[in-house]
Symmetry: C2
Subunit: 454 residues, 2 copies
Amino acid sequence: MSQSCDNILLTDLYELTMLQAYFDSGMNDVATFEFFVRSLPARRNFLMAAGLELVLDYLCRLGFRDSQLAELERTGHFSPRFIQSLESLRFTGSVDAMPEGTVFFSEEPILRITAPLREAQIIESRLINLIHYSTLVASKAARMVLAAPDKRLVDFGLRRAHGSEAAMLSARASYLAGFSGTATLLAGIRYGIPVFGTMAHSYVQAHEHEIEAFEHFVRSQPDNAVLLIDTYDTEAAAVQVVNLAQRLAREGLYIKGVRLDSGNLGAHARHVRRTLDASGLRQISILASGNLDEFRLRELAHSDAPIDGFGIGTRMNTSADAPYLDCAYKLTEYMGKPRRKRSEGKATWPGRKQVFRRLDADGRIESDCIALEDERQPGAALIAPVMHDGVRIGAAGSLDASRDRARRELDSLPPDLAELEPATAFRPNVSAALVELARQLDAGIARERRLPSR
Amino acid sequence: MSQSCDNILLTDLYELTMLQAYFDSGMNDVATFEFFVRSLPARRNFLMAAGLELVLDYLCRLGFRDSQLAELERTGHFSPRFIQSLESLRFTGSVDAMPEGTVFFSEEPILRITAPLREAQIIESRLINLIHYSTLVASKAARMVLAAPDKRLVDFGLRRAHGSEAAMLSARASYLAGFSGTATLLAGIRYGIPVFGTMAHSYVQAHEHEIEAFEHFVRSQPDNAVLLIDTYDTEAAAVQVVNLAQRLAREGLYIKGVRLDSGNLGAHARHVRRTLDASGLRQISILASGNLDEFRLRELAHSDAPIDGFGIGTRMNTSADAPYLDCAYKLTEYMGKPRRKRSEGKATWPGRKQVFRRLDADGRIESDCIALEDERQPGAALIAPVMHDGVRIGAAGSLDASRDRARRELDSLPPDLAELEPATAFRPNVSAALVELARQLDAGIARERRLPSR
């Protein structure tokens, strides 16, 4: 596979053709773009912001290498003068954003870019690509955390993630949302996330006898042996685990856990737990995996199935019941003048905005208000500066700090929004000043329509 | 973002702990693994194989760099002797597979790896990651091609793809399945796919007047100007396009097309077409985009909406109605002996297999038979050798050749399977010899259960 993660040419062609048009007509005044989600998927009562740190990393490194300029030239779409102008392109703008882990709702901007037009434009495709997916996964994983708050949840999703970067970003986003770790080794190394692992059916099958497979593994991973016991017959394998544990204990070797991956997980867990406990092996934990979503997790947690942790893959990192968000990155101001798109069903709020949140006496979200940036509204402002003149303000946020924030944010959800079932949609208020600004702009656009400029 | 696409540590931790256990017990005989999809999503009548060339690239380059071995050491999970053994690890095995673009069904292996056990094991996570997603997208995109066979379909999906690699792989897989190109510049460059682009709403909004935006763009991209006309009022913008086209024609400048992105696309297209045609601008094409799936495409195509091409993003490259496949990569033979997993609901067919396909007199798929590799069955064998001793057999398959094959394969679908609505599931036959082998293995496993080996 070609290396694409960090390549400025990973963009839509139109970002560059627009840039050339801006260049040709000398347009490069300060523009403000905002990223927001128009409306929440039917199965989401809230979303959780994620991906900001990745966007800031991307912006810090933005620029064209010579080889990339040569590739642009070969496309035949661009003039030599324009290509030359790209040599010095860097991101020199400002970023204001909700920190990662913040809960947010429809139409609320979670990230604002203020920069010379060309810089703010060219980052569009990749910025959305990074923040959309991270937010999608954090929002899904947060539901799983709410469904089984006292269980260890581990990302098992590399194989069915949509490509390599999805595996990396979903390990990060799910940890941020409250997962305990990931099975993806590289994500653990790069992001400092705890890494967990068990064994595959192929490992068991490659041995003539299941118990040999178990014994080899415990001897090879004496501190970390979680044995997969459903390859042939789960309950029979549990008996073998007891025999093996008793034999190995004489050598000071211990089995850490067993994993169930098929059948009725709750029933198997009860049976296996009884088998283990009857031989005094209470310290062997039980993990379960296999097409789990938040509803199965809740069912297993509520039924007091003796399962200590869950491996969760596909449904988390594809956000299977809502695999995308209706998000946008829209121009809201240019040359100091507010801008508004009026496309049917996709109209946007103009101007630089802030979101104010009021909590009730219990610390739960009471109301949000989308207002203009310079307004004062009751409540806490959720959007704060994080980059100025292309330079980060302060140190990079740590993932663990974001994870702590995410936990507090989940605690601030009103009970109905914390449920898995759809609640009455939480709708932010819109300030009177913002409504008025939109009205004035619409009137201006309508005037122009009646009197075409040429 | 960290570069992860080509990093051997992008794997599940357990692949490496299993490898250490194999190493510690001296297991490295020849193993065969097969990749297959257990059952098709309810909304898919067939799947289309894709991703093989990416897997072969990955296998050709497999190996640990010193820095990666050092990172492994730092995890504390592995012994120095084991880590040293990884220094020389390369892929030296064989690959047999259905070529990209082949239509296939449940339980049919589409790729077989035969290699020393450790090599065949360590590639598992990334191999599935590459081939699952490519196949998922090709299968979805093929439905869109069937829904609008005479229209130009272009991948617009970078922004909501699940990370960078998903954007690249989905541009490739959708082109393979019959799309005409992609908006993702880097995918166009790397895979030789035609690249298309229009403009964004922000481009229009950044200008004081919409018509100025249009004129700047045509002057900057005289051969390639597709104007987005729904930012404020689609029909009014179409009138402006006519005025502009007539004025610019005197300078020899032409407008290539317009794009609709909101509202009732069919109705807008009819209105805009009439406006353009009334002024003799028949050569200006109409593109449409905005949350399109195969059903909307079919509706617009069947209603004779005058739309020449479609930009298709999110629903294609997230495969929104079926965002994952129930796929697996399973050990089917080790040390010359067939292996079988018997987990509840997840049992697998043992041994090295072949798929034979019979066509009817019209060249349509009549029946498939999953058989043992050394059986002779009527029909054409779909699986062929593509790599031997770690070396590709012949040159890399070209993407355009795979695209041609995909078109022929879609032509070979029986009419009910080519429909968008769910048909009666097509079930491959299983040869008598394969059924018998599974029975014998089960009997052997049952015997072992009654007489534990220790």
